[in-house]
Amino acid sequence: MPLLDEVEALRKEAEKAILAAAAREDLESARVEFLGRSGKLKDLMGRIREVPPELKKAAGQRLNAVKSGLESLFADRKRALSAGESAARPQPDPTLPGRTQPLGTIHPLTQALERFAGVFERLGFTVRQGPEIEDAFHNFDALNMPDDHPVRDQADTFVLEDDAILRSQTSTVQIRVMEEHVKRYGGGAEMPPIRIVAPGRTYRPDAVDATHHYSFSQIEGLAVDRGVTMADLKGFLGMFARETFGPEVKTRFRPSFFPFTEPSAEMDVSCVFCGGKGCRVCKRQGWVELGGCGMVDPNVFDAVGIDSELFTGFAFGFGIERVAMFMLGVDDIRRFTENDLRFLRQF
């Protein structure tokens, strides 16, 4: 048989062996048999001497071509085999869920309070606290709510044993902070401005139902400076509303009455759910009441000793539960103090 025929036969045999190898060991022995240092192809190459000189070159080329063809076939087969093998080995699965310590939660009312306080802090208001157990002076008299006046009817209070009361609004903190300020700087020309927000618990002896509780939270704000105007009040509260409820929200101020501010206003924001068109959440009004505000009444300045000719101020107060219920769609105020983890975990 001429050499080239033998080469052709060997090629077919080797190809068959390489493709048939099912495991890495089979493939390796096929390589040794055909392509190894003393393999069958090497044998044939050694016999190139037998070829007549004029055909030697063609025979050499043919042998080299078969060799490189077999080598590349071998490499392909090797890759295929190892791919198959690694598929069976253990390997990372990045689609598995992550592992961590479970997070706790911050109470939704705290979150709402912090969110509101945070906006005002960025506007230069300092967070202040004040006592919850109060006296009549700070809860009523200094807030221009004289004894024996029906204005006190709306602010019925819890009474403690020694005639102390639980504050019925966080406005008491206004008085405390102004007193402290006046004590330090005097209430005249030397007095630096005041800008505070006071979040905290307040109490009124109301029966508990889905929208009322005898204990609730408010955030109070007070700004006192030379030349504070009602336009500033609208400006600040407008910024607050847009930052809190979104840039599209509209505000509305309606005349109202609070003993400690004059003029006084109720502030409404357009309903964030219907954009003011009227829906179930806003009871078809298109507006949701946020809270009360106004210009500090001169009697309040008199009560704490601030010169009301030199200084003007604005004040505001919002009920946190009401606003949080509106924003979160919570239907019952009692959910907030129930502390059911199935509720708390959602925030």
Binding site: L103, Q129, P131, P150, Y214, D225, M230, P263, E338
Partner: protein
Amino acid sequence: MILSYKWLCELTGARLDPGELADRLTAVGLNIEEVGDAGYGDHYLDADITTNRPDWLCHLGVAHEIAAIGKLRVRSPEIALRETGPATATLTSVATLPEAREICPRYVARVIRGVKVGPSPDWARERLLAIGQRPINNIVDITNLVCFEMNQPLHAFDLRKLAEGRIILRRAKNGEKFAAITGEKCELDSSLLVVADAARAVALAGVKGGENTAVDENTVDVLLEAAWFQPRGVRRAARKTRMSSESSYRFERGIDPGMTERASARAAGLILEFAGGELAAGHIDTNPGLAARSAVTMRFSRCDKLLGYRVDPGETRTIFAGLGLEEVGATADSVTVLPPTFRQDLKREADLIEEVARLAGYDRIPETVTMPLLLSQVRPETRADRIARRTLAALGYHECITDSFVPADWCPPFAPSAAQYRVRNPVNAERPVLRSSLIPSLLEVRRTNRSEAEVRLFEIGNCYVKNASGPREPPRLAILDDRGMEYVRGAIEAALAALSVAGEAGVRAADAPGFAFGGGAELTLGNAHFARIGLASAEQAARFDLDAAPGLGEVEMAVVAGASEIGRAYRPPPRFPGIRRDVSLSVPEGVKWADLEKTVRGAATLLDGLEFVSLYRGKGLQAGFKGLAFAMRLRAPDRSLADEEANSVRDEVVKVCLAAFPGAAPR
């Protein structure tokens, strides 16, 4: 307060539809909460009237506001009286005793004789029904109509039932009995004013008429009372006797002192019209001059400065004129006005500025921010709360907000030395005291979440403690952890670390019986108590229906906030490596880690850190013994430590420990 749309239109000639009218009134502060069909071809407007505007408690008062908004004229009812009877003074008299002058500065009486009591004409009945009032008879209906028209409460006595037919205004006698026309009975005292006849009280002034002199179907002669009673006096009477009425509601808020006689005349005219009879000539008026008006000045510049935009003085004058404020003086920058007697709320410049703001419209006020920049501060207590809260939430704890009111026996086991505040008028009778510890409330929350396998909770809030020097409201952080008290302590330490609290917390035994094993432990910072931790006692677990006792802790946030040193100076890291040496000892059960730790710290030179490794009980240990293992980090500041040096420190520590704790042995 229910208003009749038709009535308001009659008084003003307004042509707005009911919805528009409601919107316009709301825009000036008379908040209309609801508009509806009142029947009888009328609509009702349900108004929420603020206490500063008692003048809005009647249709005439609201009509004045509508007139001011719509630049209309109020059409006051015309009163033409035919006084055909004998002089009033011959029929009755009114004596105000000195003790009564303060509470009753003005009393107007008229007498109508020969009336026929019966139903009112249809229009009057319908008008009352439209505003939610029940028609009774013509005389009573008239007093109601005039009250809702002019805001002057009136009372009609049956003159023949009045002893000696005369009126005496005096203080009640202590213990004097009074039976009201509406059936209530009460006992009076000398702080209260009564309208009396020669023998007895016939009305509790401004609150209720008496049963003894009420008008009934047989009444023939009527004495009509119109008075101005002092708000505080009426309020006191209504509160003390727990009686209130449309009348007391109005007197408490302050009615128009200039309306007394006019309302009396209006009612007398209607009585003649509805019930016939003859009106006695003249009337009794104890103080016609009560309604003095005082002038108020407003500076235009002050108004602009407060509102933040300029209102033209001409516009201001138009607003004032529309409200019935009579201009009596002016300068370039000010106007002085006399408010009408029904506007008792207008006494100061600020009150007038509010009128300008209201009537010009709050929408006209621009939104500006002209106030200068001011740097806000984060106060230490605010920062401490925030950081502690975030740390605990990150560690898997859920923040709770619980009621400040608790049952009386809840807190003392956890705050044995704190005096609790009792509430005189609790809403929930089962919770009559203010909490002096937050822990019981967390145990209650644990019960609420009984179906949960393992729970971690916290709350940050105030407690309330009664003190000789006054109330104290210590702000506290409470923690509940089902995994046990070492986790509670770990959480507290994590919060301290997050707050950069300097120094390590010390431990000493506490004696709060709510905790198991002798009352828990107290943690100290420096020498200050700052926290209490422990395991709930079996009794506490049972009280809150818990199968297992959770770990508990309560932290004084004021101490923590004060010890926080965020921003303290840096310490360079050590230049030379340290060596770790582990020691494991078997010690008697009674030996506490804190004791061992103290001994080790005393004995180990070159100690740079001491870490608890493990507590072991069981195999390989004698009964009554436990294994404690710890790791020491040894380091010299000036050189790399040699193994031999470290070993000799370890050997010395072991030797000292064995000597300090009899029975202890290396493991």
